[in-house]
C-alpha cells in the first residue's frame, strides 16, 4: 500500500500548532488561574454568611451541641451531631489527646493530670459551609447544594441516602439520619434566619465565642471579628473554601 500523502504540509502544521499553543498561553495570562487558597469568589451582592469561632473564649460547656440537638430534632444517640465540641489536650511529651464525650453535652472531665498538660483547649465544631464543598460535588443526584447565600443544605425529599457526602466531608459534619435514611447536616438554622433570629448555637453560647454574620456587609459582627483576630480555617490545604474561621486555631486541630 502506498503511503498517503498528507493533506496538510509540515510547514502549515507547525504554523497552526504555534498559533494554538501561543494563543492559549497569551489568553491564560489575561485570565489568571485562581490561587490555591481562594476557592471561589464570593458574590458581590446579597448575603454571604460566614462564621467566626473564638477558641480562646470557648469554655466547653457543650450548650451549643445540646441546643443544636433540641432545635433541629437531631437523634439523641451520642454519634449523631450537627454541632459538637472537642477537647484537645497536648501533654508535655507531645502526645495529643482528643476527647468529645457525647459531643460535650454532659460536660468535660479533665482526664489528664494538670501537671502533665502542656496546653489544652476546646474546639467547637460544626459545618464549615464551604464555598466549594466536597460534599456538594460528590452528590450524584443534586440533593445537596449551596444556596445563593452560601449555606450548604440537604434536600431531604431528593436525597437517596448513598452516603457519598458523609465520606466526602473532610470535617465529619454529616451523618445519615436513622429514621429518615437521608443525609443530615447543619442548616445554619435557616428556619431561624428567615425569622430574623440567630442560629440556635450562636443564640445560646454563654461566652459569645461564636460569631455569625454576613461577610458581604462590612459592618457585620463576623467582619469585625475577622479584622480583629488572627483567623484560620481547618484544613486550608484542601481548598474547600471553608467559611468557618477560628481564632487561635492550633495546628494540632484536624
Amino acid at each position: 500500500m502506498r503511503p498517503v500523502k498528507p493533506k496538510i504540509s509540515r510547514r502549515d502544521f507547525f504554523k497552526a500548532g504555534t498559533i494554538i499553543v501561543g494563543g492559549i498561553t497569551v489568553a491564560s495570562a489575561f485570565t489568571p488561574y485562581d490561587a490555591v487558597l481562594i476557592a471561589a469568589e464570593k458574590p458581590k451582592t446579597g448575603k454571604w454568611y460566614g462564621i467566626g469561632i473564638d477558641i480562646n473564649k470557648c469554655i466547653g460547656c457543650g450548650k451549643c451541641a445540646s441546643a443544636c440537638k433540641q432545635e433541629n430534632n437531631v437523634p439523641k444517640a451520642p454519634f449523631y451531631f450537627r454541632s459538637w465540641v472537642e477537647q484537645y489536650t497536648i501533654k508535655n511529651d507531645g502526645t495529643i489527646i482528643v476527647e468529645s464525650p457525647n459531643g460535650g453535652i454532659d460536660g468535660f472531665k479533665q482526664s489528664v493530670p494538670t501537671n502533665e498538660i502542656f496546653k489544652s483547649f476546646f474546639v467547637p465544631k460544626m459545618c464549615n459551609h464551604c464555598a466549594k464543598s466536597p460534599c456538594v460535588q460528590v452528590c450524584p443526584v443534586g440533593a445537596t447544594f449551596e444556596t445563593p447565600e452560601g449555606i450548604v443544605l440537604v434536600d431531604e425529599n431528593y436525597c437517596i441516602g448513598c452516603r457519598y457526602c458523609v465520606q466526602a466531608c473532610p470535617y465529619g459534619c454529616r451523618y445519615i439520619h436513622p429514621e429518615k435514611g437521608t443525609a443530615d447536616k447543619c442548616t445554619l438554622c435557616i428556619h431561624r434566619l428567615v425569622k430574623g433570629l440567630q442560629p440556635a448555637c450562636f443564640e445560646i453560647c454563654p461566652t459569645e465565642a461564636r460569631i455569625f454574620g454576613d461577610l458581604n456587609d462590612p459592618a457585620s459582627k463576623v467582619n469585625y471579628f475577622l479584622k480583629n483576630h488572627t483567623c484560620m480555617v481547618i484544613k486550608p490545604h484542601l481548598n474547600t473554601g471553608s467559611k468557618l474561621f477560628y481564632n487561635a486555631l492550633s495546628s494540632e486541630v484536624r
Binding site: N56, G60, K63, K109, Q110, S120, L153, T187, I204
Partner: protein, 169 residues
C-alpha cells in the same frame, strides 16, 4: 445508506425520545432554577419548627428576673442557656394560671451540681485570660468536691444553689 444502519438510526431515535420524555417527567419542576438542585428545597428547609425563643421573649413576663440578672456575673447569659428551649412556653404559658402549667410547658429548672459544673468545674482548657478588650472577665472555676464537699455522715451532696443564686451568683 445500508439497511442495517437505517435500523440502527431508528433504534437510537426511539431511545433518545424515550430518554427525553422520561427526563422531562422525572425532573422536579424547580430543579435547575438556581443550580443543580431543587430550588424549592430552600423554602422547605426554612419551614422547620423553631424551639428556642430568644431572651427578649422571656423578659416580657419575667422582667423581675431580668432585672436581677442584669447586675450579676450572669448578665450576658441568655435564659435558655440553662433553662433549655422555651418557645412553646413563651407562646402558650400565659393561657394557664401560675402553678397549673401542663408538664410539656414547664421549663427545666437546673439546680443540681452537674448543671453548674458544666461551666464551672475546674478544667485546664478553661484556664484562659481573655485578651479581648470588650470581655476581660475570666470564668470562675472551682473543684466542686473541694469547694462544696459531700456531707460526711449522710453522703448527701449539697447543691450549689443552696448558697449561690444562679441569677445573681
Amino acid at each position: 445508506m445500508p439497511q442495517h444502519l437505517k435500523r440502527l438510526v431508528g433504534v437510537f431515535a426511539v431511545f433518545i425520545i424515550l430518554f427525553l420524555i422520561l427526563h422531562y417527567l422525572l425532573t422536579p419542576s424547580s430543579f435547575g432554577e438556581l443550580g443543580h438542585y431543587r430550588a424549592k428545597a430552600i423554602p422547605e428547609n426554612e419551614l422547620k419548627e423553631l424551639h428556642y425563643a430568644g431572651s427578649e421573649q422571656c423578659s416580657k413576663c419575667h422582667e423581675d428576673i431580668r432585672k436581677d440578672k442584669a447586675i450579676g456575673f450572669h448578665a450576658k447569659l441568655k435564659c435558655e442557656v440553662c433553662h433549655g428551649p422555651g418557645l412553646k412556653h413563651a407562646l402558650y404559658a400565659d393561657q394557664f394560671k401560675a402553678g397549673q402549667l401542663p408538664d410539656s410547658l414547664i421549663l427545666y429548672k437546673p439546680g443540681e451540681r452537674k448543671d453548674c459544673s458544666v461551666c464551672h468545674q475546674f478544667n485546664a482548657a478553661r484556664l484562659k485570660i481573655q485578651f479581648d478588650t470588650i470581655n476581660t472577665s475570666m470564668i470562675h472555676q472551682v473543684n466542686s468536691i473541694e469547694h462544696n464537699p459531700f456531707d460526711k455522715k449522710t453522703k448527701v451532696e449539697f447543691k450549689c444553689i443552696e448558697c449561690h443564686n444562679p441569677h445573681q451568683p
